[in-house]
């Protein structure tokens, strides 16, 4: 399905999430499902939580114990395939890469979008971070209802 439509299957998606109790703290989720020659996520991680190894075609393995949810890998991934997520009560707090204008502003409500590009929920923008080191890949913090934990992937300006 992914190689026909660009949409990962539910089981592919779930395979990259940790157990929900681990998401009390923010953790990266790496949706890299193909052996491509690429390793910036591994070199960006200051905690050694991401392993690819000498053969850079291997898909990254994430050690959730070592991951602090710092988001350095999020803006390093050329495929925009990494986000950080944390469960807070009945909400899920996502930190996602974003490379479009206009950028969302704190306090706005944008559309929450799934991996097919469909609008599924409200996304409350809690912040937008952009530093020189992130090189124009901003990180948007968006809060969505926890039931969309495995479906939400990005935000879209509400028209």
């Amino acid at each position: 399905m992914l190689n026909k439509t660009g949409i990962p299957t539910k089981s592919q998606t779930l395979s990259r999430f940790p157990q929900e109790n681990i998401l009390i703290k923010p953790k990266a989720v790496i949706e890299c499902f193909e052996d491509i020659p690429c390793n910036p996520c591994e070199t960006a991680c200051p905690f050694g939580a991401i392993t690819i190894g000498p053969n850079i075609n291997i898909q990254p393995q994430l050690d959730f114990d070592k991951c602090t949810g710092c988001t350095l890998c999020v803006s390093s991934c050329p495929g925009l395939a990494i986000f950080v997520v944390q469960i807070k009560g009945d909400q899920a707090l996502f930190k996602i890469p974003y490379e479009f204008l206009p950028k969302p502003q704190k306090g706005e409500i944008w559309d929450g979008v799934n991996r097919k590009g469909e609008v599924i929920c409200d996304a409350l923008i809690e912040g937008v971070r952009e530093t020189n080191k992130m090189d124009h890949t901003a990180i948007v913090t968006a809060r969505v209802p926890k039931e969309f934990l495995h479906d939400f992937i990005t935000v879209r300006e509400r028209k």
Binding site: L2, N3, P37, N39, P78, G79, L80
Partner: protein
């Protein structure tokens, strides 16, 4: 006629990297590029690159171009000819060049052909209507000149270029109606496909464009389903309104100077078309003429850079001026190149290189 140690034809990723190591080895280098500035296709690439540190991974292509150009442009042993076309290459390593004012001749001790590739096109009814572009032209208009190719675009081809240009069109505010793919699966990296699909752009496989509709410019496109043998399925035609069509259906190596100089070239579909036969040192069958980058087989720019570095090292060595770090760098870049080809996307290249080695067929 002046003689220089190394003339590099093409100032894209392969040519720039070749120049860097050749200059470090102490060679006198001339780079000739027909564009008005160096950088080749890198200067249109606004996305972050894949690969590892050796290929400047996670830098954007435009910034890699700046970095590579900065490293060499003020070197005292380098001369750069931009807006200049190499119109002839002869077996005695004389190049004739044309800078839009006058012809000149330069003699080289070594030549590296780093001419890159040209885009393939697709034949269909009305394919010459205004509003039908190659992906490279769309990138040039949009990313160099800030001109939108249209308000709505239908993309043909889901290789990495089709996927990346779709993303760039969306960033520029253009509506992309869909990406058509004639094959049964997406050609490029799935991370690129996923980041486009989540923006709501459908990717439609087993489908191609059968004709363009419109009088003075493109107004709509007829698309058609293809069976597994790429035959059109009649009755499956559908009309999609669009004011631009972007073709991203592959690249062909620019081998013409190599054919002209009499180098053996061979048609290798896995490498994108006619390519020169080269030995392990990137030297063609014409002594002193080397080839690097897409000109010797279509790959990502990351591989072109590695081949550029390697060809620069081999040329330096052949002139008895090895780089101070010759052996270490050869091993380093050779290993990096092999790593880039180690995954499933490198398989095609590896098959192509094997085919290039066998047989004597000439073209």
């Amino acid at each position: 006629m002046r003689t220089v140690e190394l003339v590099i034809v093409g100032g894209g990723p392969a040519g720039l990297c070749a120049a860097k190591l050749a200059l470090e080895a102490g060679l006198e280098v001339v780079i000739i590029d027909r564009a008005d500035k160096l950088g080749g296709q890198l200067i249109k690439q606004t996305h972050k690159f894949f690969g590892s540190k050796a290929q400047y991974a996670k830098m954007r292509g435009i910034d890699i171009a700046k970095l590579l150009i900065n490293e060499i442009e003020n070197h005292q042993n380098l001369e750069i000819f931009t807006s200049t076309t190499v119109v002839g290459l002869y077996p005695d390593l004389v190049l004739t060049i044309y800078d839009q004012k006058k012809y000149q001749k330069i003699k080289a001790k070594r030549v590296i052909i780093a001419t890159g590739a040209s885009e393939k096109v697709l034949a269909f009814e009305n394919s010459d209507l205004p509003g039908i572009y190659g992906a490279g032209a769309v990138q040039t208009l949009m990313n160099l000149y800030g001109v939108l190719p249209g308000k709505e675009v239908l993309m043909v081809g889901s290789g990495n270029i089709g996927l990346i240009v779709t993303y760039q069109l969306l960033q520029a505010g253009v509506k992309v109606k869909a990406i058509l793919e004639a094959g049964s699966t997406i050609g490029g990296y799935k991370v690129h496909a996923a980041k486009i699909r989540r923006l709501g752009i459908p990717i439609i496989t087993n489908t191609t464009v059968s004709k363009a509709l419109g009088t003075s410019k493109i107004e709509a496109v007829e698309i058609v389903k293809l069976d597994e043998n790429w035959n059109k399925i009649s009755g499956s035609e559908e009309i999609i309104k669009t004011d631009a069509l972007c073709l991203s259906v592959g690249l062909s190596p620019l081998h013409q100077l190599l054919s002209m100089v009499g180098a053996q070239v061979k048609y290798i579909s896995e490498l994108g078309g006619f390519v020169a036969r080269v030995n392990d040192n990137f030297e063609s069958t014409v002594k002193g003429v080397y080839v690097a980058g897409d000109a010797v087989g279509i790959e990502e720019a990351s591989a072109a850079m590695m081949e550029g570095y390697l060809s620069g090292l081999h040329v330096a060595d052949s002139l008895n001026k090895p780089h101070p770090e010759q052996e270490n760098l050869l091993k380093y870049y050779q290993d990096e190149l092999e790593l880039l080809r180690k995954g499933p996307f490198g398989l095609k290249t590896k098959i192509g290189i094997e085919k290039l080695k066998v047989g004597e067929s000439n073209a």
